[in-house]
């Protein structure tokens, strides 16, 4: 199984029946297809839709119906449309149960950096800073290391932050961590990864849950 598959398969388990969930643009969007069909989950799109459906058939395409990634979508049963201020009242007011976002770096104190790389063209944070402060639970999914093999799970983030101490769960291709009062805690190793390999690949300090030892 590829690293990406491992991440997505584990991430979908964070979604429980009945939740209202915001999936970030990019890799998190791919989680939608893995949500069990029998679950009654409402996916929120911050441009003003609660209840994202599947992509449209060619004959159903509607320029007035897109998701936050600007892709054409459909609306599912029980869906609602609203304006941007209402959308972010939902997000900032703590009414969204879960947000799953991509990451560039996560620190051992749960800081997240995922919106800009200094020296590169800045595209903007979109709704990410609102989501990390507002949604009840923040799950970050990302590769454990960058293309140079360096740890993206760090003592402290080097890139500009999206939010400070906002991450609840970090899922990488190597492991799953939770952030609690005790600090950053390893709760699962991905299949085929040993604790030694993980420690080698991680610059952040973390504690190891009893069940993983």
């Amino acid at each position: 199984m590829s690293g990406r598959e491992k991440i997505l398969n584990r991430a979908v388990k964070e979604i429980k029946d009945g939740m209202c969930v915001n999936l970030g643009i990019g890799m998190p969007t791919l989680i939608a297809d893995r949500i069990p069909e029998e679950f009654d989950v409402m996916l929120q799109s911050e441009n003003g839709l609660l209840g994202i459906g599947s992509y449209p058939k060619e004959s159903e395409v509607d320029a007035d119906l897109i998701n936050a990634g600007k892709e054409t979508v459909t609306a599912k049963r029980n869906a609602s449309y609203f304006d941007s201020a209402e959308s972010f009242s939902m997000i900032r007011g703590g009414h969204i149960d879960l947000a799953i976002l991509g990451g560039m770096e996560v620190s051992e104190t749960g800081d997240l950096a995922n919106w800009m790389i200094p020296g590169k063209m800045v595209k903007g944070m979109g709704g990410a800073m609102d989501l990390v402060q507002g949604a009840k639970r923040i799950v970050v999914i990302m590769d454990h290391r960058n293309k140079y093999g360096e740890s993206k799970v760090k003592k402290s983030c080097e890139l500009p932050l999206t939010g400070e101490g906002v991450v609840h769960v970090l899922i990488t291709d190597m492991a799953v961590f939770e952030f609690t009062e005790k600090g950053m805690e390893l709760v699962e190793l991905q299949e085929g990864v040993t604790l030694e390999e993980l420690k080698e690949a991680t610059t952040a300090s973390f504690i190891v849950r009893e069940s993983v030892k």
Partner: protein, 232 residues
Amino acid sequence: MSKIITSLDEVLEQVQDGASIAVGGFGLCGIPEKLIIALQEKGTKELTVYSNNCGVDDWGLGLLLQNKQIKKMVASYVGENKTFEKQFLSGELEVELVPQGTLAERLRAGGAGIPGFYTATGVGTEVAKGKEHKEFDGKTYILERGIVADFAFVKAWKADPFGNLVFRKTARNFNPTVATAGKITIVEVEELVGAGELDADEIHTPGVYVQHVYEGKAYEKRIERLTTRKEA
């Protein structure tokens, strides 16, 4: 005095160089395409524009960029535009990046007569730099200012002669919020209906916010990312 206008040129006469404009739309969805084109033709310069995005190179607000009409852009995400990148890197274009929810709330606040508000969004990030911090119930918040623009450019689906507006699906996005935040709000619609034809219960934006209504023809409604599934 009727709010209905049959040409955008005469109302755009009011838009002078240096004006600020709040513009509805998300990506290319629900953008006031006729107003943008008319303003491009008029050539008004030194504009400050509040909008979630800045169009693409050859459509939407990208047209005003190409024409070098925008001095300052206030937006949450501007990633789809090469002209933008060029003008930003060369220093021609001033940019203020604002978290999307903060932008929406700043417009909502401005339209509601609220000069500022506290939010947790952006605390501990570059967005918080230079802003007042205040603690409420043990949590830190920053002060953000409401936005009132000289003009609001809005795209709605339907309007009646009073300027009551109905939006369609996710083309609603920033439009109702922007409509409240303009000193002069100009709305373009796909369909102008007669007085009394909109049910009072279905109106998204009451006409009190609207000064001018224009019925546009042949909307292009470009799609940025066409994604489909196979026909069964």
